[in-house]
Symmetry: C2
Subunit: 360 residues, 2 copies
């Protein structure tokens, strides 16, 4: 069964299709291809598994392919440029379409290449990881990393469609499944306490990849994300809530060298730190904090930052966060589980205290 | 005297200020700076001449500077990345503003960096060449070159303001002045026969840098460009007319190695080739063609392509043009001097005939 919803963005509105076996469904691609020229952007791991299915759906099109190395450490300017090499090699025009076949790294790079090739071409997201299906493929944030900061170079560029085939999760390593669950938990923490309770009750089924449970969390996550993105496409306001745990998490990823931590793992720790600081600010209770840490742990995720990351280093890496305004750090914190807020009003001593116990 | 006009793009509308001594006028910058963080992007040639004037206008702001090498051959991914290095080094946030101080290359690279830094920050164009003042600083086309094609990687990103100080043209090499006049002639050829006649009558004054004559052509060029851009920001239709001579010209630039030809020089030849093909198609007369070539020559520009560029090589380089649709080359040609059109209906034999005499 296919379940579809729409990201309501006027002339940039697009569908998200969620279901089993969608990856080979020609009808889901066809309405979104602007000419016969189609470039599949994938990586060494995902490409061999699913390229034939995608190719099957694109019979009669002029399809080319570029295969990138797999991992966050390759989300660089140099690797990104290979997509342009391939597009120009194939002589593709401004009416071509890119298909991002892979996880968040592939989606971010292919989407950013689509944003910039000949000043903008269309692209379709075909996410094959849980993290990409619940989060990164939806909403049009694309980009690459700079050695000094995650996702510092990028664009808002909405896909023409998202095709989330849940069958692709069968080949996903358990560590990546857990990383995806971090973003799922995030949606509960920022605005849906009932969903949070559901996750607490069904985490074992999710880890066992029960198809109904997985399908449900993808749907609910995409619903929340689509709603927030439709209300605030370019993050002038509430969209920043989707960054719960990300300022801390990006610091961990940058400090550890991209690729050492999975993005979702770093976000898991980041949410625990956001909860810790929210408690120190007097908003969350000890019980709330314990609940967040328990849920993150239950998803198979770490709750502690690397032991060698000092508070000073944390602050250094957090000082290039995209939410900074007028030189002031802003953080997404929680009033209580199920309601997040963005604040710049942070007592530096309390933040330091949180960072000082980050590896505990 | 300052002369101002507006590019009417609703919430992205912005002013173009044209006049003498504007570069140090604080009041022209201030309304467009979103925070105290300002990054001047310039090059080795222009920076030393004008940075102090700009700095004077920005007293009290936190100003950083990045100085790029000078020339089209440096409009690359690697050099572009230095702007991000500088922005992150300075810890600049999403509310910073870039100032592009220089010619078209600096404007294109700084504008594209502004489009992508933290997914988009503001920028101000301070063009210091005639070409940048009459053309490239207005309209929001930004980007960099790929070895296989000019401006293949880029974005539409409108500046917050254009500050064209005509006094900066005093230091412009004569070759660059001529290159700028190519784009001026272009405006006449695509939609203003009266302006074309004016240019024929006043070319000597322009080459002698008569301030009134120069100020007039900048104003008239910006008027025409602002009108076309406001009607078709993303080049879905008539904006393509602004590319008269550019498909041929880009092929010359790419084939010769970026930097060997100035962009305006290549466009000058390109306009002659467009006129030649327009004549072969039966639209323009021999007299019209001779008029175009005479005007281009009178501006101190070449009318012939490099002798070693074969028609086959021309076609190869033209095959990655951004105006290609459904794999078909589209060219901007002329009905007569003063009216251009875009067409894909081109007899290949006639095109070959034009390319065969391109170096004559």
């Amino acid at each position: 069964m296919t379940w579809s919803l729409s990201v309501a963005l006027a002339e940039r509105a697009y569908p998200i299709h969620i279901g089993t076996g969608l990856i080979g469904d020609r009808d889901l691609y066809q309405p979104h291809l602007s000419s016969s020229q189609v470039m599949i952007v994938t990586n060494e791991t995902v490409g061999p598994l699913y390229r034939d299915a995608v190719l099957g759906a694109l019979e009669g099109y002029q399809v080319a392919e570029v295969v990138l190395p797999d991992g966050e450490q390759f989300k660089t300017l140099e690797v990104w440029n290979r997509i342009f090499d391939a597009l120009l090699q194939a002589r593709f025009g401004r009416d071509c379409t890119l298909i991002a076949l892979g996880g968040g790294v592939v989606g971010d790079m292919a989407g950013f290449a689509a944003a910039c090739y000949q000043r903008g071409v269309g692209f379709i997201q075909v996410p094959t990881t849980l993290l990409a299906q619940v989060d990164s493929s939806v909403g049009g944030k694309t980009g690459i990393n700079h050695p000094a900061g995650k996702n510092m170079i990028g664009a808002f560029h909405q896909p023409r469609a998202v095709i989330a085939d849940t069958a692709t999760l069968a080949t996903l390593p358990q560590r990546e499944l857990s990383a995806g669950l971090a973003e799922v938990i995030k949606y509960g923490l920022i605005r849906d306490d009932a969903f949070l309770s559901w996750l607490e009750a069904h985490m074992a089924e999710l880890l066992a990849r029960d198809p109904d449970a997985i399908a449900y969390v993808i749907r609910r996550s995409c619903e929340i994300k689509a709603e927030i993105v439709a209300a605030d496409e370019h993050e002038a306001g509430q969209r920043a809530l989707l960054n719960l745990g990300h300022t801390f998490g990006h610091a961990i990823e940058t400090a550890s060298g991209y690729g050492a931590w999975l993005h979702g793992e770093a976000v898991g720790v980041g949410m625990c730190l956001a909860a810790d600081l929210s408690m120190r600010l007097g908003w969350m209770t000890d019980t709330d904090l314990a609940r967040v840490r328990r849920l993150v742990t239950s998803a198979g995720l770490p709750t502690a930052a690397p032991a060698d990351l000092t508070p000073e280093q944390f602050m250094e890496h957090m000082s290039v966060d995209k939410k900074i305004q007028d030189g002031r750090l802003r953080l997404v914190l929680m009033r209580y589980p199920g309601e997040a807020l963005v604040t710049a009003d942070i007592d530096p001593d309390l933040l330091y205290a949180t960072l000082a116990v980050a590896s505990e």
